[in-house]
Structures are given as structure tokens and as C-alpha cells.
């Protein structure tokens, strides 16, 4: 059992606690690796290098940015991947290069840190009371002087209702405000995997009530894990679950 809580652990547990169990408690080898995840990983590592170059004041030319992505994608595809829909290694290679070129054009961020790890205690945002003995850890994709920028590869941008309750952003706002004693501005950058790929930026606002809600969720998850409560949640997530076979045989 991990001795920390991460934002991805919390969201995974809430989506399907049995999936969480297979991954974090049993540490099971995945039954299959999804191309969509590998694609996101390659995009994120290329983005991190691009942001580092901005931080150093020597922005990477687009061709170099794309070459990094091609190399990272090649590194990801050395293992067999499961491709959804009509995706192929070549189509995703093309898509990634197009999206990153588009992003390089619209990016105006001032970079403070790229891929920055944080670790903070889980406290009541009002009273400061420590709620859990496990710290909260995570990685910000990008830190700017104003706040946090989070990148996603997706087919669409979440609607206003989904953004309002998006737990990851609330977690980041919690961690940032814990350290900096101020609420960050939050920006979602969606690299949209569409026929005509495009980049969309969405500003998201967080207030104290969101931080409160997040800490209650995180605490509930910590208690659920501690109490050994793990159950399947069959639904949309199963299509992208790397433990679908063993889940089918559960319990």
C-alpha cells in the first residue's frame, strides 16, 4: 500500500476502487498497455522539454520540438500497445506532431517550473488541522507566476459542470494554496485529438469551497483504502481498464 496519496490515486479510487486495488495494492502487471496512455506520456515529456527550453530562454524551434516527440513516441512504442478505434502508431505520430506545432504557436506562458513535483500534508483548508497521516503528492505539468497549467490529450473539452467539479484541478489548487498562501489561476490546455486537431485553453476558477470538497474526497479515499474497501464499478472506465480480464473473474 503506498504511504502517500496522489491525485491520480484519488481519482482512480473514486472511479473504480477495484481498479485501484489491482494497480496499487496488488501491483499487478497490466494485462495490456493502451496506446492512448502511451501517447499522452510522449506528449507530456515533449511538452516538459519544450517548457524547460522556454524557462532557459532558448525556445526550441518547432521542428526540434516535433523531433523530440517522434523520439519519445518511438520509445513508447517499443512495447506492444492496444490501439482504440482506427488509431495506428503512424496516425498518432502524425497527430502528436500537429498538436505540438499548434501549441508552440499559441503558447504564451512564462515558465517558472515544468513537471514540478509537490508534496503537502492533507489538512482542513480552514483550520489547518492535519486530516490524514499520508501526504498528498503530485506533479504540476507547468507552473507559471500566476498558477498552474494542466495539459490533457482528449477528444473533447469537459463541459462547465465537469470543470466545476474537476477533482484534479481542485487538488492542485489545494496544494498550490497550501504552499503559496494564495489561490492560483488554473488553466486547462486540451490538445484535442480530432480530425482537425486543435488546442483549446480553458481558465478554471477555484474557491475555498472546492478545496474543502477535495479534502473531504481525499479523506474518504484514504479511509476506504485503510479499511480495505475495494469494489468494481462497471461502466465507461472498463473499456480502458488494464485489468478487465482479472476483474471479470473477480472475486
Amino acid at each position: 500500500m503506498p504511504d502517500y496519496l496522489s491525485v491520480s490515486q484519488i481519482t482512480l479510487y473514486l472511479n473504480c476502487s477495484l481498479h485501484y486495488y489491482f494497480r496499487y495494492i496488488e501491483e499487478r502487471e497490466p494485462e495490456r498497455h493502451f496506446a492512448a496512455l502511451a501517447f499522452g506520456k510522449a506528449i507530456h515529456s515533449a511538452l516538459a522539454s519544450f517548457h524547460e527550453s522556454l524557462k532557459d530562454g532558448k525556445p526550441l524551434p518547432v521542428e526540434e520540438f516535433q523531433r523530440l516527440f517522434r523520439a519519445d513516441w518511438a520509445a513508447e512504442t517499443t512495447e506492444p500497445l492496444y490501439y482504440a478505434n482506427s488509431d495506428t502508431p503512424e496516425s498518432l505520430l502524425e497527430l502528436g506532431q500537429t498538436l505540438l506545432a499548434e501549441y508552440a504557436q499559441v503558447c504564451r506562458f512564462e515558465v517558472v517550473e515544468a513537471e514540478h513535483r509537490f508534496e503537502v500534508p492533507l489538512c482542513d483548508p480552514d483550520t489547518g488541522e492535519v486530516l490524514c497521516d499520508k501526504p498528498l503528492v503530485g506533479i504540476y505539468d507547468l507552473v507559471t507566476p500566476e498558477g498552474i497549467v494542466e495539459f490533457k490529450t482528449a477528444k473533447s473539452v469537459p463541459d462547465a459542470g465537469q470543470l466545476a467539479r474537476h477533482l484534479q484541478l481542485s487538488a492542485y489548487a489545494y496544494a498550490f494554496s497550501f504552499k503559496e498562501r494564495r489561490m492560483p489561476t488554473l488553466m486547462f490546455v486540451h490538445l484535442l485529438k480530432l480530425k482537425k486537431p486543435r488546442v483549446e485553453m480553458t481558465a478554471v476558477v477555484r474557491e475555498n469551497k472546492h478545496l474543502q470538497f477535495f479534502t473531504r474526497c481525499a479523506l474518504a479515499v484514504a479511509r476506504g483504502i485503510e479499511a480495505n474497501i475495494f469494489a468494481p464499478n462497471p461502466g465507461w472506465g472498463c473499456a480502458n481498464c488494464e485489468y478487465a480480464r482479472v476483474c471479470g473473474e473477480w472475486p
Binding site: 477495484l18 496488488e26 499487478r28 523530440l68 520509445a75
Partner: protein, 228 residues
């Protein structure tokens, strides 16, 4: 599977097992369990019946694939497991005993499910690698996760994701990309799978490529340390 089982008891069933290639070189250290340990644990927990029946005999027209089903009855329920074995999935000396191997695998599967043990049993492995079970303390010396700084020159520790990425990035700088880069690395390391490349070998090769790319030396080991 019974996720709510006793964690400590389950832990005691999991061993570090060294996996070696045909030449006896250490390939990796895996978390595995042993059929004998599973059976002992099950007897302690109470076992009502453990029966097997042959689902498929190994014949030339099915690729000599033996399939056996095990049915385990316990106080908490009935658990089934399927096990298979073929000449490709067992070591040479076991080829005459395919049904027996398939039976052990089926029983191990059912026992694991009944005991809530997620890691596979040594006997279920189908990669034909030779195995050497270790006690926990011996394993701690070998395991890259548990040992105090392992000496990469003596043990196999696989390269990290970050190192793999750096290798491809350095080759891209030289104009070697995609499949050509993969083939280049397989040849350079003399392996048929990049998962067989050690951290030390990757580090040395990253240094070499960086030098060739005019980026000085030392980053190979940096990549190794920062993503270990």
C-alpha cells in the same frame, strides 16, 4: 479473488524469485508465489476438496496443448482455475509431463484466487526461463527495489523509461528515428528485446551517444539516478 483478505498472511506467500536466461544470467527479480506455499496456506485455512479434470489432451492437431481445470472447494466458496501447458511453455525436461504441469498450473490458479494472492505462481510461468526461488532475505540483496544502492556492474537492473527515452532522443539527434532507432539499439546491445538492456549498459551508451552528439559526458548516469 478476495481483496479483503489478511494482508500479512498474503505477504508471507509472496517471494522474490530470480529469473535467469538460458545462459544463467540474471534477467530480473520478480514477485512470485510458490504452489507448495499456496497449498500449505490453503490447508491451514481449511480445504474441502481440490479436484482436477483434463479439458484437452495434448495432441498434434492442437499444438500439443494440454488444458486442465481445477475446482477448489473451501469454507468460503468454490474457486476454479484453468491451466495449460505445451512444449513451448515448459522446459525441455517437462515436455513428457504436459498434463501434470497443466494440472499444477490450474490448481495454483484456483488456490491463488481462493487466498486472494494476486501475483502469479512460479509454476504458472510460461516463459521457459529457469527459476531460482529465494528466501526473502536473500532476495532483498538481489532486488533493485529493496537493496541499498545495488552495484549495477554485478546484477541485472533494467534500464529506466527515462533512459529508454534518452536513447531514442540521442539517436534522433543523429538522424536515426523510429524503427531504425529501435533496430540500432537492439543491435548495439545485442538483445532481441529492449527490456533486456541493463541500466548500466544504457547509461554507458547514452554517454557515448551524447559525446558523439557533442553534449559531453555524464548524463546517462544522471538519467539513471533521477528516474530509478
Amino acid at each position: 479473488m478476495k481483496p479483503n483478505g489478511n494482508g500479512k498472511a498474503k505477504e508471507s506467500l509472496i517471494r522474490k524469485v530470480v529469473i535467469r536466461d538460458e545462459d544463467g544470467h540474471l534477467v530480473e527479480v520478480k514477485n512470485l508465489t510458490l504452489y507448495a506455499d499456496l497449498l500449505t496456506a490453503m490447508h491451514q485455512n481449511g480445504i474441502k476438496a481440490l479436484q482436477t479434470n483434463v479439458v484437452q489432451l495434448p495432441l498434434p492437431d492442437n499444438g500439443q496443448l494440454a488444458v486442465v481445470k481445477a475446482v477448489l472447494k473451501t469454507g468460503i466458496g468454490v474457486f476454479t482455475g484453468l491451466g495449460d501447458a505445451s512444449p513451448q511453455s515448459v522446459e525441455a525436461e517437462l515436455v513428457p509431463h504436459l498434463i501434470r504441469v497443466a494440472e499444477t498450473r490450474a490448481k495454483a490458479r484456483a488456490l491463488r484466487d481462493a487466498l486472494g494472492v494476486g501475483v502469479v505462481a512460479v509454476e504458472e510461468l510460461t516463459d521457459g526461463a529457469s527459476l531460482e526461488a529465494l528466501t526473502k532475505s536473500e532476495a532483498a540483496k538481489e532486488s533493485p527495489q529493496q537493496s541499498a544502492p545495488a552495484d549495477p556492474s554485478k546484477e541485472f537492473v533494467p534500464m529506466t523509461d527515462k533512459q529508454r527515452q534518452m536513447l531514442f532522443r540521442q539517436l534522433a539527434k543523429k538522424g536515426i528515428e523510429g524503427e531504425a532507432a529501435k533496430q540500432h539499439l537492439l543491435t548495439a546491445f545485442g538483445v532481441n528485446d529492449l527490456r533486456k538492456v541493463s541500466r548500466k549498459a544504457a547509461s554507458d551508451y547514452i554517454d557515448k551517444l551524447m559525446k558523439e552528439n557533442g553534449q559531453g559526458q555524464g548524463n546517462g548516469s544522471h538519467a539513471e539516478a533521477s528516474h530509478a
